[in-house]
């Protein structure tokens, strides 16, 4: 194969191209991207050089959706011409949906990535394996714009009208929801009407036009607009001339609707803007959090403190400040859920060296000692957790997790240190049960993990990317509530050591433990609560039978860690959860130290990125 770095560059350029191709197809059906074939090296050192060198050794097999196969085919054709890519690196196969089953079952496919709306995953057979992931990606949502009363209304109106007309690759559905503070609704609406009237509808390739045609196979928004009219909303459509033929829709502004209206509950394709008045920045955040299908947000306000505070409260991965739809030219903030740096995006397509090689005919294995019998490993008869208990535990954890994550890092560190001290003091409680650990020092290692993560969380930072026109602050936020399915036929040893990083970084946890693990887990819980952890932030439920992962997934935690091996939940329930992880050797093998990059990996797995665009002094 050609040099890894040039391949990396090529594939990296392809990545955003592949993502942008989604512009042509509606978000309802996705691409299936699979990476198989040889993996060159393992995980490099998590610096740009190393990742570049390692992650690009994949070959790809693309299954485009049935309605929009042309863009990927064109891409494949172009990559082949002139020898841009070596033959066999990018393959596009079109066909019927049953191809997916064949793809999934093929032994040489190492991992499958699903691009598109999650609900399409229900038709997928089989279970996700380590390394598989889905990427909601483009088409996953729209932008919500919050305009406060200290905003530059003209610039906000210009930016909103501009985004209505030319949706960038990120949000092919176009249009957005604008939440305006009551005092400035009328002036903003007036400006929006003036700007919408100036938009030109026509051929998207013509630089002089602003609004292109609707995405293919998307229903024209006429029905939604009519429903809005029936409810008494005001619909403004400037008198633009639509080009003949083709599927064009005039720019539309809908006011006087409520969050119950269809235009707010559904994703509306085309240049449709919905305006909603709110009374205060706090109310704007509440309404924005309650809207479905929101991928990113923008805040317009000249009062910098208020703007930053409101931005912080929005539960979105990507927020622009006094700007809209600015794209990092490297595609760094290219995902709707704002996946931080390009580094992390590349991570998705490689696998770390401590994991066994994926696919290639080997079923994924967790690291366990085959000598021990199942009974001994589980440490007792298996139990299935009560679904109601799981729901209650998750609910309690959610209530508490927000406050826990809002505490300053030093407060959380203090709790962890206190728990470590408490655990150390409980050595008199007797030796840990057999079969629980390799060298019997589970408590010692757990203490070490607590102390390490207490120290680490105090130094947690982010990344600042300088981009033309400003900078993007990429910080990490906790996932929320993580469900840990520790039980199963092959429970991962030392899974308790996964809990300190999750808690330190501000998550709540609901752990379904095998009978042998319930004791140590409860001890850990007691130590933490004694040190100050809010009650409910860490819940331990007994389990051990298979299917615990599915039980947890059904209640939609923010993250799902499958530490039990074997029976995994099927795609449908797993992919209703955003972050599914099958931790393997990240904690080190039996009797070994964890690998050097493990802490960084854990940090990434316990958090999700949050990108805040702050405009600078401009060009």
């Amino acid at each position: 194969m050609a040099g890894p770095c040039s391949l990396a560059a090529l594939l990296w350029k392809l990545g955003p191209l592949l993502a942008m191709g989604e512009w042509g197809s509606p978000g309802l059906r996705g691409w299936d991207l699979a990476f198989g074939g040889a993996r060159l090296s393992g995980w490099g050192n998590p610096g740009p050089r190393g990742t570049q060198a390692s992650c690009a050794g994949n070959a790809a097999l693309v299954l485009p959706p049935a309605e929009a196969p042309l863009v990927p085919l064109l891409l494949a054709e172009l990559s082949g011409e002139g020898g841009v890519l070596p033959p066999g690196l990018l393959n596009v196969v079109t066909g019927t949906p049953c191809l997916r089953r064949a793809l999934r079952a093929h032994t040489r496919i190492a991992a499958v990535t699903f691009l598109g709306a999650r609900r399409r995953c229900r038709t997928w057979p089989g279970a996700p394996r380590a390394g598989d992931h889905s990427w909601e990606g483009p088409g996953g949502g729209r932008v919500v714009v919050i305009v406060l009363d200290s905003a530059d209304l003209d610039s906000a109106a210009a930016a909103i009208a501009g985004s209505t007309g030319t949706p960038p690759a990120l949000f092919p559905w176009g249009g957005c929801v604008v939440l305006v503070q009551e005092g400035v609704v009328a002036p903003l609406e007036r400006r929006l009407r003036a700007r919408l009237g100036g938009l030109r509808v026509g051929d998207p390739l013509d630089l002089g036009t602003d609004v292109g045609p609707l995405p293919p196979t998307a229903a024209p928004p006429k029905g939604v607009v009519q429903a809005a009219c029936k409810e008494g909303a005001e619909v403004f459509q400037p008198p633009v001339t639509l080009p003949p033929g083709g599927r064009f829709y005039p720019p539309t502004l809908i006011t006087g609707v409520a969050p119950t209206s269809r235009c707010l509950r559904e994703l509306v394709p085309g240049p449709v803007l919905v305006l909603l008045p709110v009374r205060s920045p706090g109310e704007a955040v509440t309404v924005a959090s309650g809207l479905p299908h929101v991928a990113a947000g923008a805040i317009w306000a000249q009062d910098v403190t208020l703007a930053l505070d409101t931005a912080d409260r929005l539960p979105l991965g990507l927020v622009w400040l006094n700007a809209l739809n600015l794209l990092d030219p490297r595609g760094g903030c290219a995902r709707g859920d704002g996946d931080g740096t390009s580094l992390e995006a590349l991570r998705e397509y490689g696998h770390p060296p401590w994991e066994p090689p994926l696919g290639l005919g080997n079923p994924p294995e967790t690291l366990l000692d085959p000598e021990l019998s199942l009974e001994l490993v589980l440490g007792g008869p298996a139990v299935a957790p009560n679904s109601a208990d799981v729901a209650a535990a998750l609910e309690a954890a959610r209530r508490v997790a927000l406050g826990w994550s809002r505490l300053p890092a030093s407060a959380r560190a203090r709790v962890l240190r206190g728990a470590a001290a408490a655990l150390g003091g409980s050595g008199a409680a007797g030796p840990p049960p057999k079969g629980d650990d390799d060298d019997g020092d589970g408590d010692g290692r757990l203490r070490g993990a607590l102390l390490r993560w207490a120290a680490r969380v105090e130094l947690l930072g982010g990344v600042v990317q300088e981009v033309p026109g400003g900078r993007a602050l990429v910080t990490r936020r906790p996932l929320g509530v993580v469900g840990v399915a520790w039980s199963g036929p092959h429970p991962l040893r030392r899974a308790l050591e996964l809990l300190p990083p999750a808690l330190a970084l501000g998550n709540g946890l609901v752990v379904v433990a095998p009978p042998s693990g319930v004791g140590p887990a409860l001890r850990l819980q007691q130590a933490l609560v004694a040190a100050g952890l809010p009650g409910g932030a860490l819940a331990v439920l007994p389990g051990g039978a298979g299917g615990d992962g599915a039980t947890l997934a059904r209640h939609h935690p923010d993250g799902l860690w499958l530490c039990g091996g074997g029976t995994d939940p099927d795609w449908a329930s797993a992919l209703s959860v955003t972050h599914v992880w099958v931790p393997g050797g990240v904690l080190g093998g039996p009797g070994q130290e964890p690998p050097p990059d493990a802490e960084w990996e854990l940090e990434l797995r316990c958090t999700r990125p949050r990108c805040l665009w702050v405009p600078g002094s401009g060009p």
């Binding site: 530059d152 100036g198 630089l207 002094s617 060009p619």
Partner: protein, 275 residues
């Protein structure tokens, strides 16, 4: 000229409600430059429109009757006759919008324009141009004299010390700058002024004119200014009554572009009449 701005009560509340986000405005200006470009015949048409809005200006210390005389004749025939004929615009009476000179030269300008048979207005700068740091009495005297000499428009320099201390005035037409500063008419500044004009129009119904001046040298910039006016204010503002480009060497560049459009080759120095 547009109707006089009857004015309103000075509403300081309006001024305090204005919020401008500078980076967003700068970004918008950059985008307009890229998105709104015209080519071919359309470009020629926009250039001719720009010509009709030019305030052909000479504000040098060494202005004498002879160069003012030359300027006024150029004002009457800004584009070479045969070029206009090729565009079929020779019958449209294309002249510049006005001629702008110092008060001492207003008489010469008025006489020259009369000799050329042209009724475009003579605009005079006044009120201690360019610094504005002269007493109010001399400013008023200057304006009175300029009007007596025959100027139909006056470019008044506002007293920046009053502005910087928050004491505002009102006017019929607002001009970005004297053209004599280091940084004159930039697009972000123009955008902000135009938005203020539109807001004033929405509040009072009175249309105030706009004139960017200083640093506008190329035809491309002129077209961008016209595009901005169209975008921010609307087509009604694209007339000499409400929009002027304060420029001296701009006309030369526009004429060169039109020459290229008509003949396909670049003009040499002797091809185009000097202003």
């Amino acid at each position: 000229m547009a109707g006089r701005n009857p004015g309103t009560e000075l509403e300081l509340g309006w001024i305090s409600k204005v919020h401008v986000n500078r980076p967003a405005v700068v970004r918008h200006a950059e985008q307009i430059k890229k998105w709104r470009t015209v080519k071919g015949n359309w470009q020629a048409a926009w250039l001719l429109k720009a010509v009709t809005c030019i305030d052909l200006t000479t504000l040098s210390g060494d202005d004498t009757p002879s160069n003012v005389h030359r300027l006024c004749f150029k004002a009457k025939h800004p584009i070479r006759e045969d070029l206009l004929k090729a565009l079929d615009m020779h019958d449209n009476g294309i002249t510049v919008g006005a001629v702008c000179v110092y008060p001492a030269r207003v008489t010469d300008a008025v006489n020259a324009l009369k000799a050329a048979g042209c009724n475009i207005p003579v605009a005079s700068v006044a009120a201690g141009f360019p610094s504005g740091q002269t007493p109010l009495e001399t400013k008023l005297a200057e304006i009175k004299l300029a009007v007596e000499y025959g100027a139909r428009e006056i470019d008044i320099v506002i007293s920046r010390s009053l502005v910087l201390t928050g004491q505002w005035e009102r006017s019929d037409f607002i001009k970005t700058s004297t053209g004599k500063e280091v940084e004159n008419a930039t697009f972000p500044v123009g955008i902000v002024m135009m938005r203020a004009i539109r807001e004033f129009y929405w509040q009072t119904g009175n249309k105030v004119g706009f004139k960017p001046a200083g640093g506008i040298r190329t035809a491309k910039e002129a077209i961008t200014w016209l595009m901005l006016v169209k975008e921010e204010l609307g087509v009604e503002w694209l007339t000499p009554e409400l929009f002027r480009l304060g420029a001296s060497s701009l006309l030369e560049d526009i004429e060169k572009q039109i020459f290229y459009h008509v003949t396909g080759s670049y003009a040499l120095q002797h091809d185009l009449a000097m202003a």
